[in-house]
């Protein structure tokens, strides 16, 4: 017993001396370290990492940030909030990173938000979409001014979904009745509320609203209930559930389109994961690879595809833009001090690959989220057509019309 504890103390002492030898990096030293955090084994995490790498390589090739190179540091949060807080602290205190980007799980983003404030390091969320992040910044401004987000929050997504569904289902296909199927998760609260108001206002009656547990494995009862409601299309709101609803929708040949928002369907590997069952599924997403939202969109998408052999996901766009925003902000602030970067970031007015990025101010409800709508970030709707994501909305940049899978009957006009 005594020896055990003695050993344990020994280990602690050894550990602490080891720590001591890791002196924190000096602020002025080259290069600038930027952290990327996510669960990299997940496809979303890989998308984040790839976007960050591409941006960093481009920036470094073009001379860096004010002559200083970017050094990317990666932190795997293992999908756990407690791991993430440790990793964040390691990044800042140990490795001296000047800013952190990443995170696709809302619970982690919300946990890290106060930590960014405590550590006074800018943190750009590039994957998680819960409105709460922006609300937290709003409620705790200016303490939480370090937190930004370059991916659309749930409420903006809801707006995009409402607009795109209105144009596609109501306009192109002439549907009158839709069902709303969303996962039983916190982020869908505001999403549902918004759509329940917005869709009827746009002439689409919601004949069935269904909440789905995130661990649902069998969707048969759900589809059958929706079918019984005589809906003509299903407006989805799924982010966590994964490919099950899509695969079972195709297997059961549910005779109505799946549209709305489906996080997984926005990723390019989705065709392979579902063994092609995603044919005909459409989703709202940040940007697509085949239509020029901005002049930067297609060059980025093409280069990304060449480099990684897969199309960029919304997270890749967000992370890619986040790094350029950081570069821009640091150059304007002429400092790598967290507070200075954050203040500069707040004033960003930048055209990125996913749109014209301007952040909402302290007075706006979702502080430091991107402004959404015409002239800002708009998002697109894509549909899976024969193994490819094809942009079908907004109508002015669409590459094709919405097509119907074999088992979905054409609407009687």
């Amino acid at each position: 017993m005594s020896r055990v504890l003695a050993k344990f103390t020994g280990a602690v002492v050894a550990l602490s001396t080891a720590m001591w030898s890791f002196a924190p990096l000096h602020a002025d030293e080259n290069p600038i370290r930027i952290g990327v955090m996510a669960k990299f084994a997940q496809i979303n995490g890989a998308a984040i990492l790839n976007g960050a790498k591409m941006a960093a390589e481009e920036i470094n090739a073009a001379g860096g940030i004010d002559g200083r190179k970017i050094e990317l540091m990666t932190y795997d949060d293992q999908g756990s909030a407690s791991d993430a807080t440790l990793a964040f602290q390691r990044a800042v205190r140990e490795d001296g990173v000047k800013a952190m980007v990443g995170t696709f799980l809302s619970e982690i983003a919300i946990t890290l938000t106060p930590w960014a404030a405590r550590l006074k390091v800018p943190y750009i969320v590039t994957g998680a979409g819960a409105d709460q992040v922006g609300q937290l910044v709003h409620d705790h401004y200016p303490d939480y001014k370090y937190v930004f987000r370059t991916i659309l929050p749930a409420s903006s997504t809801a707006k995009g979904v409402c607009d795109s569904v209105h144009d596609l289902a109501g306009g192109q296909l002439g549907y009158k009745r839709v069902a709303l199927m969303t996962e039983d998760a916190a982020w869908t609260k505001s999403y549902d509320a918004f759509l329940q108001k917005c869709l009827p206002e746009n002439g689409l009656e919601i004949v069935k609203t269904i909440k789905v547990a995130t661990d649902t494995s069998d969707f048969t009862p759900i589809f059958q209930q929706i079918e019984a409601s005589k809906a003509q299309a299903i407006v989805t709101g799924v982010g966590i559930i994964g490919n099950k609803p899509v695969v079972q929708w195709a297997n059961q040949q549910v005779p109505m389109l799946l549209m709305g928002y489906n996080a997984q369907a926005g990723a390019s590997a989705f065709w392979k994961e579902t063994s092609g069952a995603t044919q005909g599924v459409s989703t709202f997403t940040a940007a697509s690879t085949d239509s020029p939202l901005t002049p930067k969109t297609i060059p980025f998408a093409t280069k990304y595809q060449e480099k990684y052999g897969t199309t960029p996901a919304a997270h890749s766009f967000a992370t890619y833009d986040a790094l350029y925003l950081l570069k821009d902000a640091i150059e304007r602030a002429k400092s790598t001090d967290g507070g200075a970067i954050a203040d500069a970031m707040e004033k960003s007015d930048y055209v990125g690959a996913s749109g014209h990025i301007v952040f909402q101010g302290p007075k706006d409800p979702l502080t430091h989220d991107m402004k959404f709508g015409k002239d800002f970030v708009t998002g697109v709707a894509v549909q899976w057509q024969d193994g490819k994501q094809v942009t079908v909305w907004p109508t002015d940049i669409a590459k094709n019309k919405v097509t119907l899978p074999k088992f979905v009957p054409s609407p009687k006009k």
């Binding site: 084994a41 496809i43 547990a213 099950k244 297997n251 590997a269 994961e273 063994s275 069952a277």
Partner: protein
């Protein structure tokens, strides 16, 4: 609604039944609750998916690869986890029980992370065996699901045939009833255990492929599958194959009925609560003997 409930209840129950048969067989013969069961299913499903996407042989190759992956996972579990633990004589019986559970859980993490790093942590689905839908009792049902349900019961039937009609099957059955008696009959229990793990792996592999086809699997879905299998097996009574089949149908139907009546987001809750209540009043499960 009744027709829908029956059709989808039957299909989901068939999959549950097949997915838990191996688990209960393994417990019956070797007394081990393999909490890595769900991940073994997932391993088979993911490997089959990988092969299906890369091979011209399509589903046949995928099924073969899935079963092979299941057997490999089963045997590795036996060799790397179970045997070392069984050879540790320092442990008391109740300690060994808990150690076995914890060790298989650790093995779950290892398998899961291994899968995630090789194939990525994504949810995957196999292409359908038969495309198209059929009409049953007025319910449009994927032909594949019907086929899978039939195959599931067919495999269970084959297993029954194997156990009751073949020599090695009889030895397995005898081992689950009285391993001491088997030793007296000159049979090497070590080989019986190897056989049961291999058979377990094959069953889990087959079930994993079917689950991946109908429901989809991901590396991290293993624990959920284990929880379902564990619940079914304990509800039916540990070691009772008949009890397991009945409990699989019970849970399958309760879940489906809940989804139809109370709403899909409550799907698993009543089944869990019923499980707890049953165990409270019948600690040995519905058909358990102890």
């Amino acid at each position: 609604m009744l027709a829908e409930l029956i059709v989808s209840g039957v299909i989901i129950s068939a999959i549950y039944a097949l997915a838990t048969t191996g688990f209960t067989l393994l417990y019956g013969v070797s007394g081990i609750l393999n909490l890595a069961h769900g991940t073994t299913l997932a391993t088979a499903g993911i490997v089959a998916w990988y092969v299906a996407g890369r091979s011209d042989l399509g589903l046949v190759a995928a099924l073969a690869a899935g079963i092979a992956a299941g057997v490999a996972a089963g045997l590795l579990t036996f060799w790397l986890v179970i045997r070392p633990l069984q050879r540790n004589f320092e442990l008391s019986e109740s300690d060994e029980h808990v150690f076995m559970l914890v060790a298989t859980l650790l093995w779950t993490i290892i398998l899961q992370e291994g899968l995630a790093s090789i194939f990525g942590d994504v949810s995957v689905s196999l292409p359908q065996m038969i495309p198209g839908v059929v009409d049953i009792l007025g319910v449009r049902t994927p032909a594949s699901s019907v086929f899978v349900a039939i195959i599931a019961w067919l495999v269970i039937g084959l297993l029954w045939f194997y156990v009751s009609k073949t020599k090695s099957g009889q030895i397995l059955l005898a081992a689950s009833i009285n391993p001491r008696g088997l030793v007296l009959c000159g049979i090497n229990l070590g080989r019986v255990h190897l056989l049961v793990w291999a058979l377990y792996g094959a069953l889990a592999g087959f079930a994993g492929v079917l689950v991946a086809m109908i429901l989809g699997v991901s590396p991290s879905s293993g624990l959920d599958l284990t929880a379902t299998a564990f619940s079914i097996v304990v509800l039916g009574g540990l070691g009772s194959v008949g009890g397991t089949l009945i409990a699989a149908n019970l849970i399958g139907f309760i879940e489906t009925a809940t989804a139809y009546t109370l709403g899909p987001s409550l799907r698993s809750l009543p089944a869990l609560i019923i499980l707890v209540i049953v165990l409270y009043f019948r600690p040995q499960g519905l058909f358990g003997r102890r």
